[in-house]
């Protein structure tokens, strides 16, 4: 299962954070600092996986944002990258060529989309069409 998902900018600013395991706020911010410094300092040529504490960090860079997923030791890293990509594609379809600014000003919408894709660290919907369908149905209600 995924323990947490982080989106950080190249300057180290948090754009989205979602923990699926209980973690007090103080620890969350400490983790974010640690993980960002680890990942932002990596060279672009190295692989996308990093061992950190007892977990594995899978990250991918999309334009100016780093999408980081922390998974358990016995999880499939390549699949985690696929899940991240799934999320990014959903965002892309919803916002239409999503960029960082979209995510800054509409962070709450990004969270809603994430809620349609993951619950408790597990994938709930593998069809992008279905995800978007549900999100768009909830939009007029606002």
């Amino acid at each position: 299962m995924i323990n947490f998902i982080l989106l950080i900018s190249r300057q180290g600013k948090t754009r989205l954070k979602k923990w699926f395991v209980p973690c007090p706020e103080r620890d969350q911010f400490r983790t974010i600092k640690e993980v960002s410094s680890l990942i932002l300092n990596r060279s672009p040529k190295v692989c996308n996986f990093l061992e950190w504490r007892d977990y594995k960090l899978c990250y991918k860079r999309y334009a100016s944002l780093f999408f980081i997923a922390c998974i358990e030791q016995n999880d499939n890293e390549l699949l985690a990258l696929e899940m991240v990509h799934h999320f990014v594609e959903c965002l892309d379809r919803y916002f239409g060529n999503v960029c960082e600014l979209d995510l800054i000003f509409n962070f709450h919408k990004a969270y809603y989309i994430l809620d349609e894709i993951l619950i408790s660290g597990e994938l709930q919907e593998s069809s992008k069409r279905a995800v978007l369908h549900h999100i768009s149905e909830q939009d007029p209600l606002i």
Binding site: K13, T14, R15, L16, K17, K18, W19, F20, P22, C23, P24, F29, S43, K45, V46, C47, N48, F49, L50, E51, N76, E77, L78, L79, L81, E82, M83, H85, H86, I104, F105, F107, H108, Y111, Y112, D115, I119, S120, E122, L123, Q124, E125, S126, S127, R129, A130, H134, E137, Q138, L141, I142
Partner: protein, 807 residues
């Protein structure tokens, strides 16, 4: 006036400095707090949204928690939505406030609007605490049977969390699994698989019960893998139908097949199909292949399938993509026990990965390399690992050192190679070799007497080159202390078969250097402690340096480090003259510990052909007669030996030891010229010798012992003892023993006979002595003679001191 969320974000981004940002945030927080206090209903959800943004930036926002609860209780959807978002962001399952939400969640679960239900299920699934889960388990169970797949899938994932959080609740959900797994909707299938995995993890005994679902899982997987799937377009990612569901099912199959042969049979085909049909060009395909290989390796697959799996791994290893290689190495690590030959085939690739630019890959390659090491390839692998040690980063070095040491301990072909390699490791990574490894090395050396000289020579010259590696220095100092006499004896031979000339003065100089510049400044006292121990041992091994040693020890007697001060004071005391006679006994070699040294006891010492540095080892231990105290000899119970009729004469000097042990002399008399186990330095040196006049050593009761001492060219003294029987009756069972002071080494050869016929002096016995004080102190001898005369046993003692000076 409450500003919009957009405005806030814009104004924060417009701030140029951190202080400015803090001011804006503080001002906004104050406004929000006031609005909360005034119970502003209209803009509450906007305020909470702003608060969430501020929270994400890292500012404290606890005052918003109760407002989230109020929003959740609202009937308007947008407010509920923000409320739930705030709930999951600002609270976690350990917050007490969370319990207050339980009722709201319960109401929302029975709401007509499916999206409201969805919100509630999401919240419970993400941050539900133990009590909440227990309270709402029944509702979730009902929702799992809902006709709406949207609700079903969320409820199933909620159930997964409940199963993980609450004990003894699994049975409630067992019956529902079947329906979930038969569902057409992929989301529901995904959720069902997750729930099943969680159930199996929590209670492995369910394995049997749920095994009946394996065929339907296999069927679902087969549908997706074969082309022509109805909904392929919707779930297609990079040409593969729903890779997430495929991976989930593969994982489930792994759990089922792990310990069951029947389940394995059912899945062999589909695994082969997935492995062959999946395209490995993009990450998606590789993710599926990876999962498939993991499953194949974990279950008891048939050999064809296994070969398929290994081939895929081999392909992964050769891929240019770093991610794939990393994953391959990780898998190899897991399956290394399965098939050794195949692993060896890929050995070169793995070793290349050791030199990769990517640190994650290097770490994985190291783990795999270590598992690949066995007796056959230990030498080449160690070479590679040592090369790597040269270039590894510091935080890596420690692990690498310990891994090399462990591998060497397990697999080294012989002792000499083991010691060589360990010395190399210490030279290259000396500051990272742990204490344990150093101790092990010392133990190995101590247990291999044949290599004492070799080791100490090697360490000495390595230390002369560089004193910067701490492990090397510590171990070298210890060895110098223990075996320094080998080094300075003048008998050591170097790699080019040239004799090595190391004087005691050189050794002392080296130790002095260590004292002056210890390898690690902060831990200097530890090094100095070892040096003091070595120094005191060298007093007996290099007696010429007595004064220098005393001076060096004096440096520490006022040290601020308590241990060091104590040591130096005690050792200085030991140098005092009262201890002269006992010192050698105290400072003798350490006994070899009984603990196993990694099964290497049965290993041979090893010949020189393996290494590039052939060195002759000097055989044997130095004269143990140093142990003897003159007094002890005579206290030993001698009675056991004398009356024995056929007690062989204790001819070899080694028997002098036996006396102390009070064991009957079981050693048969060694007929050869030199008794075994003795330092054979003195054999066969031609005589440019110096004869001395004969002297009467003992005369009493008709027995006369005459000594004919002769000084040899190499400094030793050969004494020929002639026994004369002046009586008219023979003396039988004649036993002659001699003991010498500690600074003399003695070796006795067997007597030419055990019976002294009357009126003859035919029987002789040769003794050889080395006076380590080189004549400073004269040669002394105590004698013990036993024989049977006229049927009565006779015991005599005597002392001989009148040796000519210089002997």
């Amino acid at each position: 006036m409450s500003i919009k969320l957009r405005e806030l974000i814009r104004s924060i981004r417009a701030c140029k400095t951190a202080a400015e940002e803090r001011a804006v945030v503080a001002r906004e927080c104050a406004l929000i707090r006031t609005a909360f206090k005034e119970d502003d209903n209209q803009f509450r959800h906007r305020n909470v949204a702003k608060l969430l943004f501020i929270h994400m930036m890292g500012y404290p926002t606890h005052f918003g928690q109760m407002e989230c609860l109020k929003l959740i209780a609202s009937s308007k959807f947008p407010e509920k939505r923000v409320g739930y978002l705030g709930l999951t962001q600002l609270l976690d399952e350990n917050t007490e406030v969370l319990m207050l939400v339980t009722n709201s969640i319960k109401n929302d679960m029975s709401n007509d609007n499916q999206y409201v239900n969805g919100l509630a299920l999401c919240a419970l699934g993400n941050i539900g605490s133990n009590e909440m889960c227990r309270a709402l388990a029944r509702e979730v169970e009902n929702m799992m049977a809902s006709p709406n797949p949207y609700i079903r899938k969320k409820a199933a994932l909620c159930a997964m969390r409940i199963v993980r959080k609450v004990d003894e609740i699994e049975d409630k959900f067992n019956s529902k699994i079947g329906n979930l797994l038969e569902d057409r909707n992929h989301g529901v299938l995904l959720a069902g698989c997750s729930l099943l995995t969680a159930l199996l993890e929590v209670n492995p005994s369910y394995m049997k019960e749920f095994r009946r679902y394996v065929p339907s899982l296999v069927r679902a997987l087969r549908n997706m893998v074969t082309s022509g799937y109805t909904n392929a377009a919707e779930y297609d990612i990079a040409g593969i139908t729903d890779p997430f569901l495929q991976a989930k099912i593969l994982r489930l199959l792994r759990l089922f097949g792990e310990r069951s042969a029947d389940a394995t049979d059912e899945m062999n085909d589909i695994l082969a199909q997935v492995a062959t049909n999946t395209e490995g060009t993009k990450n998606t395909g590789n993710a599926i292949l990876y999962e498939c290989v993991l499953t194949i390796m974990s279950i008891e697959a048939e050999s064809g399938l296994r070969v398929l799996g290994i081939n895929i791994l081999g392909r992964f290893l050769l891929s240019r993509d770093n991610n794939i290689r990393y994953v391959a190495l990780a898998t190899l690590q897991r399956v290394v026990n399965v098939d050794q030959q195949v692993m060896q085939r890929h050995r070169n690739t793995i070793i290349d990965c050791l030199k990769d630019a990517d640190i994650s890959i290097r770490k994985r390659a190291l783990d795999v390399t270590y598992s690949l090491v066995d007796e056959a390839n230990i030498k080449s692998m160690t070479k590679e690992l040592l090369n790597y040690l040269l270039v590894a980063e510091p935080d890596f070095k420690e692990e690498l050192c310990s891994k090399i040491c462990m591998a060497v301990e397990k697999f080294s072909p012989n002792r000499r190679w083991q010691i060589d390699t360990l010395i190399k490791v210490m030279c290259l990574g000396g500051n990272f070799v742990k204490e344990q490894q150093r101790e092990k090395f010392c133990r190995v050396v101590a247990a291999t007497p044949e290599l004492h000289s070799y080791t100490v020579i090697k360490l000495y010259f390595n230390m002369k080159e560089s004193l910067s590696q701490e492990a090397l220095v510590h171990v070298g100092v210890w060895c110098l202390g223990e075996f320094g006499d080998h080094l300075v004896s003048g008998k050591a031979v170097g790699p080019d078969s040239q004799p090595i000339h190391v004087t005691p003065g050189d050794v002392l100089d080296l130790l002095y250097d260590v004292v002056r510049k210890p390898p690690t400044g902060e831990k200097a006292p530890a090094t100095h402690c070892l040096v003091t121990a070595a120094l005191i041992k060298l007093v007996t091994r290099c007696p010429s340096e007595f004064e220098k040693i005393r001076k060096l020890l004096r440096r520490f007697d006022c040290s601020l480090h308590v241990d060091l001060q104590q040591r130096s004071c005690e050792f200085l005391e030991l140098l005092g003259s009262d201890w002269d006679s006992h010192r050698a006994g105290i400072l003798d070699r350490m006994p070899v510990p009984e603990k196993e040294i990694g099964g290497a006891e049965t290993r041979v010492v090893g010949d020189a052909s393996i290494d590039e540095v052939p060195t002759n080892t000097s055989k044997g231990k130095p004269g143990k007669s140093d142990l003897l105290d003159l007094n002890d000899l005579l206290d030993a119970p001698r009675e056991q030996q004398a009356p024995a009729n056929q007690a062989p004469p204790p001819s070899s000097g080694g028997d002098l030891l036996d006396l102390l042990d009070a064991a009957p002399a079981a050693n048969p008399p060694a007929p050869q010229a030199t008794p075994e186990g003795f330092l054979d330095i003195f054999s066969g040196t031609p005589a440019a010798s110096q004869e001395a006049p004969p002297m009467v050593a003992f005369e009493k009761n008709g027995l006369k012992v005459t000594f004919f001492p002769r000084k040899e060219a190499d400094g030793s003294v050969t004494v020929l003892a002639r026994f004369a029987n002046t009586l008219s009756v023979p003396m039988t069972n004649f036993v002659f023993e001699a003991a010498v002071p500690k600074y003399v080494t003695l070796s006795i050869q067997p007597a030419t006979g055990q019976v002294l016929p009357p009126q003859t002096d035919l029987v002789t016995q040769t003794m050889s002595c080395v006076n380590s004080t080189n004549g400073e102190k004269g040669l002394l001898m105590k004698l013990r003679i036993g024989y049977v005369c006229n049927g009565a046993p006779v015991q005599e003692m005597g002392q001989v001191g009148g040796f000519p000076p210089g002997f």
